[in-house]
């Protein structure tokens, strides 16, 4: 497999601005970012440097203002808005800082949502959700509501929801920011153990230096640009 074939995400000179005239804000200033299949790619940097904007552009949630973007071999620009939604539904899983679980749904129902969106029958979706929750150590909590779960458990449910439809790209936004160290480690262990796959790329936006050792590559972002990329034995580099 060539280097290009192994790229899940390829951003070249990606630009993004908000507003016009005096209110114009340049959020991304020619970003060069690559995420490979089978890797945990970290995106780190100070608040306001453009990390969230970049993952929103990669996920197809925001349109970029310029540059080239290829996600899973598809030029996002070539897709119509409805094709883009279908592409995201099928290929992208999300893990949010605040979990974003639906409060009225049980853990299993929350995990089943991506399958229901894709049209899977309810019972089948719930069965698959329960099975995945068991893999993530939550077999006893499948019928609990989010409010009945700890932060770490909620993030594990959110992780199951991000993976249940077997997406080829998982985007995680500060997955450990709301968790204590032990819970954060546990979630990252599960992420590294369950999400990383030869046919899947995982992008993690984080401030949390305690979890940098899970990364195969770390892209440092500053003021709308990638300032440095660290690859290889990350744990040693950031120890």
């Amino acid at each position: 497999m060539s280097e290009a074939d192994n790229l899940a995400v390829s951003c070249r000179d990606v630009q993004k601005h908000f507003g016009e005239g005096e209110t114009r804000v340049q959020a991304l200033r020619g970003v060069e970012f690559f995420a490979r299949f089978g890797e945990l790619s970290f995106l780190v940097g100070p608040s306001g440097c453009g990390k969230t904007t970049l993952i929103s552009v990669i996920a197809g949630l925001l349109d970029r203002s310029g540059g080239d973007l290829s996600v899973l071999g598809v030029e996002i620009d070539e897709l119509t808005p409805s094709e883009r939604i279908l592409f995201r539904r099928k290929n992208v899983g999300f893990l949010f800082q605040q979990y974003n679980l639906l409060p009225a749904f049980t853990a299993a129902e929350n995990v089943a949502v991506p399958l229901l969106i894709a049209g899977t029958l309810r019972q089948e979706a719930l069965d698959r959700a329960r099975s995945l929750l068991s893999q993530l150590g939550l077999s006893q909590r499948t019928e609990a509501l989010p409010s009945q779960l700890s932060g770490g458990q909620q993030q594990r449910v959110a992780l199951a929801r991000a993976l249940v439809h077997q997406p080829r790209l998982v985007i995680c936004d500060e997955p450990t920011a709301a968790l204590d160290h032990a819970s954060g480690e546990a979630v990252m262990d599960l992420l590294a153990g369950n999400a990383v796959h030869s046919d899947r790329a995982v992008i993690v936006v984080t401030h949390d230096t305690r979890v940098f050792h899970y990364a195969q590559s770390i892209a440092h972002m500053d003021d709308g640009r990638i300032s440095k990329v660290t690859s290889g034995p990350i744990a040693e580099a950031h120890a």
Partner: protein, 378 residues
Amino acid sequence: MNFVALRMLTGDRSKYFGLVFAIAFCTFLLENQTSIFANIMRRTASQILDVTDAEVWVMDPKTEYWDQTKALKDTDLTRVRSVPGVAWAVRLFKGNPVAKTLSGKFAVSLLIGLDDATLSGAPRKMLLGSWQRLSEPDSVVLDQAGYVLLFPGEPLELGRILEMNDHRVTVVGISDASAPFLSAPVMHTRYSEAVNFLGRERTQLSFVIARPLPGTTPDELAARIEAATSLRARTTQQFIWDCIRYYLKNTGIPVNFGITILVALVVGTVVAGQTFYLFTVENLKQFGTLKAMGVTNPRLMGMILLQAASVAALGFAIGTGMAATFFEITLRSLATRGIVLMWQSAAITFACILFVAVVTSVLSIRRVLVLEPAEVFR
């Protein structure tokens, strides 16, 4: 996704019940007030409705409604009978004598005097006795509510004695007459008796009631009578609406009920609409998450419409149930007898609730459609 929409809706029980109750309360108030209003208006024409024999009513040209009568000349009856197309025409008296019991209890009554020979216009719904006994001398048929008013706490019984204008009369029947606009006892007797139960005037004929020959419609007959006699002739339906219109135009009843209905409509719809709108706004994060996960805008619209429709349907059903229960209970009271939940009220209320649901859904959908899915990362 219907499952997702409904679970989102019912997940927060307090908000869900608040929404349903707001719509149920609005439905109850609207159906209750509009039905009571319509039924009270119908009461203004109760005695016209009860005279099932008549299809055309002839009266003084200046008469506007049932309670306003100016006596016709006795010869007017003959003039009406001579109009082509009249199958029969008989006289009808209406007066308001004071009826007194032997114990001294008295009440201003509504007395209807029927044609002596035919007893046309006699009450057909009898609870005790028979209207045919009106042919006996000094006899009246009294309605149940009037009986209860004049003989409180006593069982329904024939043979009771009443005094009217120094005449002693016997109750030979108890009818289930429709409630009049004012809660007066309704009595039926023969025309020749009725004129004696009230102070004598030079002329006594209140109405001539008539029925057309086969092949002639009541409208045609009324027009012919007016042309031939210069008297006012109205079909039963026209006369009913004359009465209702008179009260609408000349009393404060519509204003009073109108304000209540308006308040119910505004408070109910604003509360229900605002609650549902806030429900959507508070769930924007959830909708944003679903959007990010690949739910399309049309599907989100469908989810919101389903939520609004289910809340509206449940609230309307509960509110209609409450209104029906209310009327079922009050129907048994003599004072409120005949006041029922009208299907027209339910239909109008349903239209109002539907309107609120649609408007609120549109406002909510607008918020969701403009929502950037990237907001989920904020």
